[in-house]
């Protein structure tokens, strides 16, 4: 009898040991309760109807921008805790430019774009703080974060369009390509006739370099290859002549040869539509070829941003440098690939110091302090890293030395 009890005890202890990394029931309950409160409040704001425009009309900081992200916080309120997917992100998308957002999966790059479209998974995903200012075609500036759901439908599609990663699943398999294209047109231009819509759809298919647009118009999605489908998706995005195209990993699922075709197409389109593209990808090669401005994200924050040349020719943040070094370059003849050790921190429990510290090979005493402030290096280039301060100090010292030498 005693034996049995002891055995049971041991078993229980073992179980507790094993379940140590799981959250206890009570904790989950507490977080869920708190989350429900917050979500309810935010959903109430979101679901309001007939809201006066003045509530979400703002002023662009610079009228030459299409979008301005200003201290955007986008959180997911999950039972395990609040996932700070985007945690204080600020950057601009200037008119007629391609802005590339790079980062590893889970860094918040996709969530940033979903927040802009207000397409975050409801009801857990919410914009907690900050502004997204959008410069519409009619000259008004909307604060997307405050636009209620009802009014957002007018902006989506007509003003900005999105291209997704999976061309296989983003088209509805039971409708013909043409019907799906026409539907978008009817949605935004209700007075358009059927014939007009067809004309426009076919013209758009031609724009994206589809060889026989008339025959593709009456095909079903499964009859097309991945590259073709991605072209159709791009055509769909272009239909309403959007101001801004958000391309979320548009070529990740495609072969290199097809990727080259699609990138070529996107570049031409940018010139045609006279709009901007926000290109989200983890592929630095794609970014280098396409983007004018680059935003590097890590664990929900921007760690470095600048023009494409600044980021690739003169990267400052150790993460940016590491990312670039870890790509196996063609014909480089290296012995061992450079790697950034470790993995991305868990977005639920982010540390109070620099998120990259534990993986950083250049860390030093100062890195134990609070999360580093963003420092401007040039008008377009900014970095959030203590190294910059250090460099500045060194520069000062050097200048002093120069002074001393001069005095001597």
């Amino acid at each position: 009898m005693k034996n049995i009890i002891e055995q049971l005890k041991k078993k229980r202890e073992k179980k507790q040991q094993e379940s140590k990394h799981y959250i206890s029931k009570e904790q989950i309950k507490a977080t869920a309760k708190e989350n429900n409160r917050i979500i309810k409040q935010m959903e109430k704001q979101n679901n309001r109807k007939n809201v006066d425009e003045s509530e979400y009309i703002t002023q662009m900081r610079d009228p030459n921008n299409v979008v301005e992200f200003d201290n955007l916080h986008a959180y997911f309120y999950t039972d395990a805790g609040v996932v700070k997917a985007v945690d204080g992100v600020s950057f601009d998308v200037p008119k007629r430019s391609i802005v590339g957002v790079v980062g590893e999966s889970g860094c918040g790059k996709s969530v940033t774009s979903l927040a802009l479209m207000k397409l975050m998974a409801q009801p857990t995903g919410q914009i907690a703080k900050g502004e997204i200012r959008y410069n519409a075609k009619d000259g008004k500036a909307y604060n997307i974060a405050k636009v209620p759901r009802e009014d957002m439908n007018k902006i989506r599609g007509k003003e900005m369009a999105m291209i997704f990663q999976e061309p296989m699943t983003s088209l509805n398999p039971v409708f013909r390509i043409g019907d799906q294209l026409d539907e978008v047109l009817f949605l935004h231009f209700p007075d358009m006739s059927k014939e007009e819509a067809k004309q426009r759809s076919i013209a758009m298919l031609k724009t994206v370099n589809i060889a026989m647009p008339e025959s593709i118009y009456s095909r079903y999605p499964h009859e097309l290859s991945g590259g073709m489908r991605q072209r159709v998706m791009i055509a769909m995005a272009l239909l309403c002549d959007p101001n801004l195209i958000i391309a979320d990993e548009p070529t990740t699922a495609l072969d290199v040869t097809i990727q080259a075709q699609i990138l070529d197409l996107l570049r031409n389109i940018k010139n045609d539509i006279n709009g901007s593209i926000m290109l989200i990808t983890h592929d630095l090669g794609v970014i280098a070829e396409m983007a004018d401005y680059v935003v590097v994200m890590y664990a929900g924050r921007i760690i470095e941003k600048g023009t494409v040349r600044e980021i690739f020719k003169n990267p400052v943040h150790p993460y940016t440098i590491g990312l670039q070094k870890s790509i196996p370059a063609l014909s480089s003849g290296e012995d061992k690939l450079y790697t950034i050790p470790g993995t991305v921190p868990n977005p639920i429990n982010l540390p109070d110091y620099c998120y990259f510290r534990d993986r950083c090979e250049k860390r030093f005493g100062k890195c134990d302090g609070a999360y580093p402030e963003t420092v401007q290096i040039s008008p377009t280039h900014s970095v959030a890293c203590y190294l910059v301060d250090e460099m500045k100090a060194e520069i000062k010292e050097k200048l002093k030395e120069v002074d001393k030498n001069a005095k001597k």
Binding site: S19, H21, Y22, I23, K25, Q27, I28, A32, T78, D79, A80, G81, T124, E310, N314, V316, G342, T343, V344, P345, N346, I348, N349, P351, Y355, D358, E361, K362, R363, F364, I377, S378, H381, L387, V388, E390, M391, E394, I395
Partner: protein
């Protein structure tokens, strides 16, 4: 400025190398996660409907299994109001007598009545404090019989679904995993079972049992057997479909590539991964089985009188006093009906809740 920076970072580098101790647990593991089991439970308990189902079912179980312990009456114990009744039995006797007038023999019929010994006749009683739901025409306490009826329905439902799942899973996984001729044979058998019109077949089978003269107490086991026999095909089909899907997943290819035995592949890799769907299907199926059992009992071929079942209790509306009971004594048959509806609804709610809880897309 920026070129300067590039030059400088080379100088700063070497000083930091001694700082390279690794933290105990990496930042990726710094937050606790929700265990998979708890995740499912969370999602299940979040749905209000499934909670309603669960509570209803719990109450029902308590009612059926604890109720009879408390109840002062038994299942087949006449307790209602009764009167002593004597019945008059008319008799006639034919006697051969010699007619005194004619002197001929003739048959004479004598008429007389016999008064029987007084005996109890139970009457239907309306609800009262001693019999909250009254008594039926045999004087049995309706509430107590409702409890016993619940026992039959719930245990029968669980046993049947359990055996159905075992059989269905066995044939379904074999069929899906091996494919080819095995699949063809099993699935055609399943097709045949699906073609059979359920109720008539069940009635036929029940009538057959009647014919065999199976004792009343054992009939419930035969009933279970029949319901299982005609019910496993649905589960088999579901399991087969799931297995076909799982077989194509890469972890199955990996299992094949590591050279695992077939039984291990089926029992360790496939079955645990179809379990959620099976549990959902089984829960939803429970309601159906309770319905079938009730229907059969109603038709008088399920649980036989005097034993109680919800269906049998409703069938009291079709007997000799049926009309009277239907119109004037709803306390006898309505509660049984409500019990059936509640049980089936509860199982469906729970099934739906489970389906949502197991669905990874419902992540929150």
């Amino acid at each position: 400025m920026s070129t300067l920076v590039n030059e400088l970072d080379k100088n700063i580098l070497p000083d930091q190398e001694n700082n390279n101790e690794k933290p105990e647990v990496s930042l990726a593991d710094s937050a606790k996660v929700i265990s998979p089991g708890r995740l499912v439970l969370r999602r299940f308990f979040r749905s209000k409907l499934s909670m309603v189902g669960l509570i209803t079912l719990a109450l029902m179980f308590a009612f059926s299994f604890l109720g009879p312990v408390i109840s002062p009456w038994g299942e087949v114990q006449p307790t209602g109001d009764f009167k002593w009744v004597t019945s008059i039995l008319p008799h006639q006797i034919k006697v051969t007598e010699i007619n005194e007038d004619t002197g001929l023999e003739e048959v004479v019929t004598y008429y007389f009545s016999e008064v029987s010994d007084p005996y109890k006749v139970y009457t239907k009683t309306p609800p009262s404090w001693t019999h909250p739901l009254g008594t039926d025409q045999y004087g049995y306490d309706v509430l107590t019989r409702l409890m016993y009826g619940g026992r039959v329905s719930l245990t029968l439902g669980f046993i049947v679904i359990f055996s159905e799942v075992i059989i269905g899973m066995f044939f379904g996984s074999i069929s899906g995993y091996f494919g080819g001729a095995t699949d063809q044979i099993i699935m055609r058998v399943v097709d045949v079972f699906n073609c059979l019109p359920g109720l008539p077949i069940l009635m036929l089978a029940a009538a057959l049992i009647d014919g065999w003269g199976v004792p009343a107490r054992l009939r419930i086991y035969y009933l279970m057997g029949i319901l299982t026999f005609f019910g496993w095909s649905g589960i088999a089909r579901l399991v087969r479909g799931q297995v076909l899907g799982i077989r194509e997943l890469e972890y199955m290819t990996a299992a094949e590539a590591t050279g695992l035995t077939t039984s291990r592949k089926i029992f360790k890799h496939i079955i645990p991964n179809v379990m959620p769907q099976i549990i959902v299907q089984a829960t939803l199926g429970l309601g159906g089985i309770i319905l079938s059992e009730s229907t059969l009992s109603y038709l008088g071929i399920g649980v036989p009188f005097p034993y109680a079942a919800w269906g049998t209790m409703i069938s009291s509306t079709s007997g000799a006093e049926g009309r009277d009971i239907l119109q004037n004594y709803p306390n006898i048959w309505v509660p049984a009906g409500i019990c059936i509806v509640l049980a089936v609804l509860a199982f469906n709610f729970i099934g739906d809740g489970l389906r949502d809880a197991f669905d990874p897309r419902m992540r929150r």
